[in-house]
Subunit: 338 residues, 2 copies
DNA sequence: GCCGCCGATGCATACGTGTGCAAGCCAGAC
DNA sequence: GTCTGGCTTGCACACGTATGCATCGGCGGC
């Protein structure tokens, strides 16, 4: 029913090969005939069959992304950024959600690999070994996870300037007069948590502040709520929280029990998920453009697939930006004296 | 490099046709040989080429979904539910985000249609005419939008029991002693807004309450914030808000200006997006299982594609459930007297 | 004027699968 | 014994495209 390459060829008085080349090897065909062909194709509503093309070339022309959990507001933004950039390049996007099940991820990779040319792995929970295995299957770009440290392991990654973001947060609190600051830590096995924690320790030390690490908790709303008591008992006037989801849990718990915010405790989050601005008080946080991360991941895959670009394994991390809202305030006079 | 159907056939001592049928027409091939074939295929790591299969059959074996904006927490949940159910059936899922641009949707449909067998349109902004056009291209199921009213228009839809949800909300407020209740309306052109509004009017009237429609506003955080003043000036002690996103904006604005919640005003939302539990006060709202909506949409498409099922155009709407949190309270004594 | 080269095009084939048709085989009925 | 019919399998071909190779025409250099 739909027009084929032969229909166009016949109408144009050329062979099917020429029509094919007019689209895939434009420089090989005479400009006049090429223009005639594409005009004719347009009028016939011809579009190349991706199935036939895939069969012949072995490529699908599509990209895939695997995320742990779409319910976590972190990931939809990445997917969104990826999808928009992919559309610019003409790649369809296949999506898979692993439901936070690390054991499901390798299977998803294998399934997805058969339908896409390259894969974005967003915060993958799988092991380093499974990761390199996945990268052997298809070109892979990581988002929000470092590449495995092994020798042959050069899985490219889109990273975030965690240190820079933490520095801005600490500097902001310092400027507001806070001198004893806590860091509410997520899971200690998480690489980005460690990055932020180390940056926090360094930044507070460099500024001559007292930096206290509080706990480690699950990087969830519940984990943040669980940190509330420890945060109050720690001798601090402000905390930097590993991420916004935890910060939301922390704020929720504190305000429910009547703790005055930000008077009693200033709070800074990380990620600037859409929820951050809607909390009460609205969360001061470090913004990272998750959409940009998704878009950059597509750029790198596209460069890899087309053979263009230097394909450096570790380019500059994505910049961060402190967004000041209502959850941080100048330290109170009482606290200043204490 | 990957094993083909011929490799399996040769090893098994049968023809390629038999191997093909062993997978797609199991009842046509002798049980013993079929078992031998699938065991052999397993050991060879053979998996049928979806490209070749698509080329031959015209089907892709994949499903697509188009959403207006992944940043709106409503949609990731639908996508998630769809993705999980689709995986059970073995369908890959292609995702497209229209960035709230109604004019982009038809183009996305056309692009997607070439890569999938059927499409889920989630809250599509396109016109009825474009909708029927899309349904002509591929089997379509709507989520959160009614089918066009025309004669030949039988686009199946997964609908939500808006009326039932509103009734529960009004009943809850009534039980708490509220007698003058407002409905903060979204865009009047939205079908689901109208459904909820009408249900609100009916429910309040049936209960002998005073129901007041407040405004209409954009169904966004900003729209909800914009409704704050009107909600305070309206002579009501409680409001039902069109959806949670608006309710979040309303709560944010009210608490920022120091209005006591829920003391001064009880608030009920709709949708139970993940954000709802994290607001201060935590939002009482009508839960609809968005994941279920996505899953049911897949069920219906699968039934349509496999020719099974009665394929009724309008089955029972999805049930709703009131989730009571902290944004509703018994009406105050002062208000009772007034 | 001839040779060789280059740019443009056609021919043929292969990618891996599904499926209509025919053939073979076997059982049961006459 | 023969015929009919069902079950199982093989043969051949087509799906729509990309691409190596051959062809052809034109043009510059000797």
């Amino acid at each position: 029913m739909p027009a084929t390459i032969r229909d166009v060829a016949e109408k144009a008085g050329v062979s099917a090969s020429t029509v094919s080349r007019a689209f895939t090897r434009p420089e090989m065909v005479d400009t006049a005939t090429r223009l005639r062909i594409i005009a004719l194709a347009e009028s016939l509503g011809y579009e190349p069959s991706s199935a036939a093309r895939s069969l012949k070339t072995g490529r699908t022309g599509a990209l895939g992304i695997i995320v742990p959990d779409l319910s976590n507001p972190f990931f939809p933004d990445v997917v969104r950024g990826m999808q928009h950039r992919a559309r610019e390049y003409g790649y369809p996007v296949l999506l898979a959600d692993s439901a936070e099940d690390p054991s499901a991820e390798p299977a998803l990779v294998r399934t997805l690999a058969r339908n896409v040319d390259a894969i974005v792995l967003c915060s993958p929970r799988m092991s380093d070994a499974e990761l390199t295995e996945a990268a052997r299957l298809r070109p892979v770009v990581l988002v929000n996870r470092e590449a495995p440290a092994g020798p042959a392991a050069t899985v490219p990654a889109v990273t975030i300037d965690n240190a820079g973001g933490i520095q801005q947060a600490v500097r902001h609190l310092h400027a507001l007069g806070h001198r004893r600051i806590g860091f509410v830590s997520g899971t200690r096995t998480s690489r980005s948590n460690e990055d932020r924690l180390v940056a926090f320790t360094d930044a507070t030390a460099a500024a001559g502040l007292v930096g206290t690490v509080i706990g480690s908790y699950q990087p969830t709303v519940e984990g943040g709520a669980a940190a509330a008591d420890d945060a109050l008992l720690a001798d601090v006037t402000a905390v930097v929280v590993y991420n916004d989801v935890m910060a939301a849990g922390l704020i929720g718990r504190l305000s429910r029990v009547g703790v005055e915010l930000p008077g009693r405790l200033s709070i800074v989050g990380f990620d600037d998920i859409s929820l951050a601005a809607l909390l009460t008080p609205a969360l001061t946080t470090v913004r990272i453009s998750l959409e940009l991360a998704g878009a950059v991941a597509v750029d790198r895959l596209h460069a890899h697939l087309t053979g263009a670009g230097p394909d450096v394994a570790r380019p500059a991390p994505l910049p961060t930006e402190l967004v000041v809202r209502d959850s941080t305030a100048a330290v109170s006079a009482a606290d200043l004296r204490g």
